[in-house]
């Protein structure tokens, strides 16, 4: 007896969904069935949204953030402070920084970090466009908002070599105690970094 399977177009849909991150074979099957069976699934709208996105959402020419058009809303915003440039690893790192509202400058996403073990070298990262932007816009301060892991540290160290001698101040985000956490529950490394990065609260 022949083994019964879904019709080939449905199998193809399941295969395509299964390629997506975080979607296993079971989830792919469930989503596919929902798309073709559920009365409110509107698969045409999903398909339109996908093709619209892939056509119109691009990387911002300057900072690498998501943009509709050549520049993103941040780089297009005349009220942003162009004297401070904040360097992040990924374009997605910009959103959490933006949500705080603490930063009014502009960004530059490198697109990753220096990681020879994953075959990511300086030529794969947006260092050249960063140098160009610094030369053109001449910001006064560059803030390195990179991860505190080994590769983030190495990338920060690479950048500071690259920018040595340029007339700008290079800073990095402070590492220290998480907000709302007691000393008791912090690990030794965090506490020792918090000591190194301590700030003055007043003088008597």
């Amino acid at each position: 007896m022949r083994k019964v399977e879904y019709p080939p177009p449905l199998q193809e849909l399941i295969r395509q969904l299964h390629r997506m991150p975080g979607i296993g074979p079971r989830s792919a099957e469930r989503i596919a069935l929902w798309m073709i069976q559920a009365p409110n699934s509107r698969p045409g709208e999903i398909s339109d949204a996908i093709s619209r996105c892939t056509k119109t959402v691009l990387s911002c020419r300057d900072c690498g953030f998501f943009a509709e058009g050549e520049l993103c809303t941040i780089c297009n915003d005349p009220s942003r402070d162009r004297s401070v440039l904040c360097v992040v690893e990924q374009p997605t790192d910009i959103l959490p920084l933006e949500r705080t509202g603490a930063f009014r400058g502009i960004y530059h996403a490198l697109g990753g970090k220096l990681s020879p073990l994953n075959h990511v070298g300086p030529e794969d990262l947006r260092f050249d466009s960063l140098l160009q932007r610094i030369k053109q816009a001449a910001p006064q301060e560059l803030i390195l908002a990179l991860g505190a892991d080994v590769e983030g540290e190495a990338t920060a160290s690479y950048l500071s070599q690259l920018l040595a001698g340029m007339p700008l101040r290079i800073t990095r985000l402070a590492q220290g105690l998480p907000a709302g956490l007691s000393l008791e529950s912090a690990d030794d490394l965090t506490i020792s970094r918090a000591f190194t990065g301590r700030t003055e609260v007043g003088r008597s």
């Binding site: 220096l114 020879p116 892991d149 080994v150 190495a154 990338t155 160290s157 690990d187 030794d188």
Partner: protein, 357 residues
């Protein structure tokens, strides 16, 4: 206290379960039946690493995708699923994002009949010993060690590239130095705490007329940064990082002479055991309870006097799981639970409960 162990697709075992006595559990059987693997499984369950290999991939049963170790320690349920693609930790059935809390549940010391390699073997054996202890003693040791290793491998990857990549190498030099200094500090402090306990154990088990000494030997000069700079030329030639904690060693001496050369085989065995006993003692004094004491076929090499003195120097009240090929010495050891292990053909390895009946 470890109550039970369940393993799946672990070394030669498709599936295996056993319960432990709060005091002494003994597993008796011939060679190549998987006794050592059972103790290894206890180490992997509690410490997420093997005392025998650096990678867990070879521990997975041939033909299986991944292994599972599962067990109750006190009233906590520990579970570790490992496959090359995926690792999952669960504590009381709650998946853990990191290993911090998981690794606080239980500590262990593994006594192996190959421990003499600690004295005779290369520095790698002794670093492995220090790292296994350090990861149980200091909360941050494991993270610092792993980060150092990553910085080292990254830096070496750049050193090997043609044409040379001096800027990239320099970028990894800073984290390498930062992490290396932290690691050196932790290892030095560990050896200072270990030394008096190792000497005391050596004197109790062995003869008192010889002096056991151990000293931390740093794999760079005291100033890691200067040592790296001084080795730059040779480093560029050999294309690998030549100084640093990855070259650390623990110098073992017998009355001032290198133990690997001058000590007799019996003295070397006593030294190795003394190191393991001090490992157990240090964890006991720091955390207020004995670690799990796993003894893998170590009695065969010891005379009765040393065997009894070893037992006397181990932390009292520590749970002991012992494997052996021979029952000859068992009347000395009040095992609460005694198992025989054998190969039963199609059923695979099976356990006989010898006592309690």
């Amino acid at each position: 206290m470890l109550r039970n162990l369940s393993i799946r697709d672990f070394r030669c075992f498709t599936r295996f379960d056993l319960d432990f006595d709060p005091g002494i559990t003994c597993i008796v059987g011939g060679n190549a039946l998987g006794k050592t693997s059972l103790l290894e499984a206890v180490v992997i369950l509690t410490r997420l690493q093997s005392p025998r290999t650096n990678s867990l991939a070879p521990v997975i049963r041939t033909g299986a995708k991944g292994l599972v170790v599962d067990g109750m320690v006190d009233n906590r349920h520990m579970q570790f699923d490992y496959s090359p693609k995926r690792r999952k930790l669960a504590l009381d059935s709650v998946e853990q994002k990191d290993a911090h809390e998981y690794l606080q549940v239980a500590r262990a010391v593994f006594f192996a009949n190959t421990d003499i390699d600690l004295v005779r073997g290369t520095g790698e054996e002794r670093r492995r010993f220090l790292d296994f202890l350090g990861s149980q003693f200091f909360r941050d040791y494991r993270n610092i060690l792993r980060s150092y290793d990553k910085a080292l491998r990254s830096r070496n990857a750049y050193l090997k590239m043609t044409p040379a990549r001096p800027r990239e190498v320099a970028a990894y030099t800073k984290p390498l130095i930062d992490l290396g200094q932290q690691l050196t500090e932790l290892r030095g402090s560990l050896v200072r705490r270990l030394e008096p306990k190792a000497i005391a154990a050596f004197n109790l088990i062995g003869e008192r007329d010889e002096q056991f000494g151990l000293e931390y030997h740093c794999g760079s000069s005291a100033d890691f940064q200067a040592a790296l700079a001084a080795s730059a030329e040779e480093e560029a030639r050999l294309r690998t990082t030549l100084v640093g904690p990855h070259r650390d060693d623990l110098l073992l001496q017998l009355s001032g002479q290198p133990a690997a050369i001058y000590a007799s085989e019996g003295q070397q065995r006593t030294m190795a055991i003394a190191l393991k006993v001090s490992h157990a003692r240090l964890l006991e004094s720091e955390f207020g309870r004995s670690p799990l004491l796993l003894l893998d076929d170590v009695f065969g090499e010891l005379d009765i006097g040393r065997r009894n003195r070893l037992f006397a120097t181990l932390p009292a009240g520590g749970q002991r799981i012992i494997t052996t090929t021979s029952l000859a010495w068992l009347h000395d050891v009040p095992a609460g639970r005694l198992y025989g292990i054998k190969d039963d053909g199609a059923r695979g390895r099976v356990l006989d409960v010898i006592s309690p009946r």
